[in-house]
């Protein structure tokens, strides 16, 4: 038997050190992912409505968000989301734990998600719908309420659409105005008479309500359904309340389209550049200088690219395009201002180095023997490149694409100079000709996180949205990477020889 230290090897400390480093790295990565997923999951999971009775007899109804140590005095204080911003100005209320004498979960407490002013927490007195009055204690009340809300929501959708159409036109027809008025009137017939925990009365028009839920009555499956509904809405809906509520669809769409346009731009340019450098230019002082500057470009801070994009793409190129093709609408710029086209061009420039370097490596993977084989059959240089070298280079090209997409999807700084906005009035792609409106400003997940998380007036209430947006961005990046990875592995298998 060998002594133990020989079996393990003398390099035990080094091995331990590297294993520890791996552990730390893994821990950090899992920590980040877990934090984001937890934040997003917690934020969307329906929370019970707690009715607190304080020592002075005040009643507070809301969701318990945090228990933290009290900076003044001792003990804990609770941060309760009480909503009703239209009444009290703020969504949150902080109470000292010591003041709380009673905690209940009343089954008749409701939370209303509203188009404006955030959530309303309280009790339903009655529902007035077209002269009929429904008592919340009558059986089947919940079903009646949901049906009424759905009806009103559909009326609201129609009237909103019509109103937008009317607003676009200089003068609307009598007929349209009359129809709009009747649609709006039909919505007004429905009102929810509510009261807060403290007994304050509040009448809320049904048209203001997105969802009404008696949260404490929901079982696990009911809560799960609400959770799913919230996620679906988050992915597919427009934002509300200066982005702190509602969905992120425009940002998700903007990010995807941005990355797609960037890829479409950078891959051909990068591949052709690399082809010239490696296949045609030969190894001269000039090509070495070009190669060096391309790799140096990769280390330039992205905000510099943003500034360049603004100066060159937006002002110079965009300005020229406006002068040539959109002179009639000047001085209002069309392409001469930030937009998704210029933002993707800027990102394409930013990611050009990785595509060039990776493609060059890919081209180097084509064996000399195979190139000569094609030439010996009379193939020209271009034919050799096109039919024989390219299959070998594809894995490298896809690797470049992976790196480019991964970098571009996460960049925010250059976009802030070249066309991202916190709220875009329209998507860059819609049903009005010419369908692609690449001059339009756009929303972006990364910027959304920054804006909602750090720039909004209501940071605390927006926390779930920030975490959920981060999670969506992470998932999007992972999916894009996965797609490119699959492409690369397929291409790699194709050029792997099984003989010899």
């Amino acid at each position: 038997m060998k002594p133990f230290h020989l079996v393990v090897g003398e390099d035990l400390p080094k091995r331990f050190l590297s294993a520890a480093a791996l552990l730390v790295a893994l821990g950090l990565m899992f920590g980040l992912t877990f934090l984001v997923a937890w934040g997003a999951g917690w934020g969307f999971w329906p929370k019970p409505l707690e009715l607190l009775t304080l020592a002075d007899g005040t009643k507070v109804l809301g969701e318990l968000w945090d228990r933290e140590s009290d900076p003044v005095g001792t003990g804990l204080r609770w941060r309760v989301k009480v909503g009703n911003r239209d009444l009290w100005g703020s969504d949150f209320r902080v109470v000292r734990q010591a003041e709380v004498v009673k905690v209940e979960r009343p089954t008749d407490a409701w939370v209303l998600e509203r188009w404006e002013y955030g959530n309303f927490y309280g009790f339903v007195l009655s529902l007035d719908a077209d002269g009929q009055v429904f008592d919340p204690k009558t059986p089947g009340f919940q079903a009646i309420l949901s049906r009424k809300l759905r009806e009103v929501a559909s009326l609201k959708r129609q009237s909103d659409k019509l109103a937008a159409k009317v607003a676009r036109k200089a003068q609307a027809s009598e007929e349209e105005l009359a129809r709009l008025a009747s649609l709006q009137q039909a919505q007004e017939g429905c009102t929810l008479l509510m009261t807060t925990a403290g007994g304050e009365r509040k009448d809320i028009p049904c048209a203001q309500v997105v969802h009404a839920r008696p949260m404490n009555r929901l079982g696990f499956w009911g809560k799960l359904a609400v959770f799913g509904e919230r996620w679906l809405e988050f992915i597919t809906a427009e934002p509300r309340e200066s982005n702190t509520e509602g969905g992120i669809f425009p940002a998700l769409f903007g990010t995807s389209l941005l990355v797609l346009l960037m890829t479409v731009g950078v891959v051909p340019l990068g591949v052709l550049t690399a082809v010239y450098l490696r296949e045609y230019a030969g190894d001269t002082r000039f090509t070495r200088a070009v190669r060096l500057s391309v790799t140096t470009l990769a280390g330039v801070p992205s905000i510099v690219f943003g500034a360049f994009g603004l100066a060159f793409f937006v002002y110079t190129l965009g300005g020229t395009v406006d002068k040539l093709f959109f002179a009639s609408s000047l001085p209002t710029p069309t392409f001469g201002t930030g937009g998704i086209l210029w933002a993707s061009a800027t990102l394409a420039l930013l990611t050009l180095p990785v595509v060039v370097v990776a493609t060059e490596e890919g081209l180097a993977a084509a064996p000399v023997e195979v190139r000569e084989g094609a030439q010996a059959l009379g193939a020209t240089r271009w034919e050799t490149l096109r039919y024989v070298v390219l299959p070998y280079a594809k894995p490298g090209i896809y690797t470049g694409m992976i790196l480019a997409v991964a970098r571009a999807a996460g960049e925010v700084a250059p976009l802030m100079l070249t066309g991202v906005v916190k709220l875009a009035p329209a998507l860059p792609l819609d049903s009005s000709p010419p369908f692609f409106h690449l001059e339009r400003k756009f929303m972006h997940l990364g910027f959304h996180i920054y804006d909602v998380g750090f720039q909004s007036p209501n940071v605390e209430a927006a926390r779930p949205v920030v975490f959920a947006t981060t999670l969506v961005l992470l998932v999007l990046v992972v999916l894009l990477n996965l797609l490119a990875l699959i492409l690369r592995n397929r291409a790699r298998n194709r050029v792997m020889s099984q003989a010899l």
């Binding site: 084989g373 034919e383 024989v388 050029v495």
Partner: protein, 251 residues
């Protein structure tokens, strides 16, 4: 008998290294001519002069005439691609393209502009049969050529060259990466071919040269030491270097 390949006082090399020091050689039409010689003596360089494969290598220079099929290979009216269609080549290491068996074989014909399905499938079968590969791959024509064994890959490379209907085939140590059984199959294949195509076969394997060729040339340090009918050269070499090489007392 006219010469299929011919060079006169050919001097060639790379940079300041003169590899071929004035080689004069005539390869007779038809049959197999073997070029033998120790490693590094310039066999590949000589072979590649005939289809101008050296031209793009850095530092390559050449002096002296090179003729193929009775024509100067540097004749400006003879484009290099059409020279290479007539003078095919198979390399030391099997080099199939990363595509299907059929696409490999049809690579040359497609470059020639042949698009008709019927014609292409005729070329495919004829070339694969001539390379003794048809029976092995006829059911997997559309699977990747990289899945074939080394010997099959090398015969595929022969089929690929044959698809352009060359009159001359240059083989640069084609069996050096193959096992003895695959080598035997390859030799058999080439011997069958040699009835219709002139073959110039570079090898450092004496037995192989003796087995396959009717004519040999012995190259040593960039100089052509001796050439003649195989049987004659092997039986009584005129040059002392040749004798020493043949009897293995070398180096």
């Amino acid at each position: 008998m006219s010469a299929a390949l011919e060079c006169r006082n050919l001097k060639a090399g790379f940079g300041d290294h003169l590899v071929l020091q004035g080689v004069t050689l005539a390869v007779p039409s038809g049959g197999v001519t073997a070029v033998m010689g120790p490693s590094g003596c310039g066999k590949s360089t000589l072979l590649r002069c005939f289809n101008r494969m050296n031209d793009h290598l850095p530092g390559f220079f050449r002096e002296g005439e090179v003729r193929a099929l009775g024509r100067d290979v540097y004749d400006p009216t003879w484009p290099v691609d059409s020279l290479r269609f007539s003078v095919g080549m198979v390399f030391q290491k099997p080099n199939p393209f990363p595509m299907s068996v059929a696409d490999n074989v049809l690579f040359g014909p497609r470059l020639l502009g042949i698009r008709q399905k019927q014609e292409l499938s005729e070329i495919l079968e004829r070339s694969l049969r001539a390379a003794h590969l048809w029976d092995e791959v006829k059911d997997s024509l559309s699977s990747s050529a990289l899945k074939l064994s080394g010997g099959q890959q090398q015969r595929l490379c022969i089929a690929r060259a044959l698809a352009c209907k060359p009159q001359v085939l240059l083989l640069d140590e084609p069996s050096s990466a193959l096992d003895p059984i695959a080598t035997a199959r390859l030799e058999e294949t080439v011997l069958d071919l040699a009835t219709s195509v002139t073959v110039l076969w570079v090898t450092h394997d004496l037995q192989q040269a003796a087995r396959v060729s009717q004519h040999v040339a012995f190259l040593y340090l960039g100089e052509l030491v001796e050439e003649g009918p195989t049987a004659e050269v092997f039986a009584n070499p005129k040059n002392q270097l040749t004798e020493r090489y043949l009897t293995g007392r070398f180096g």
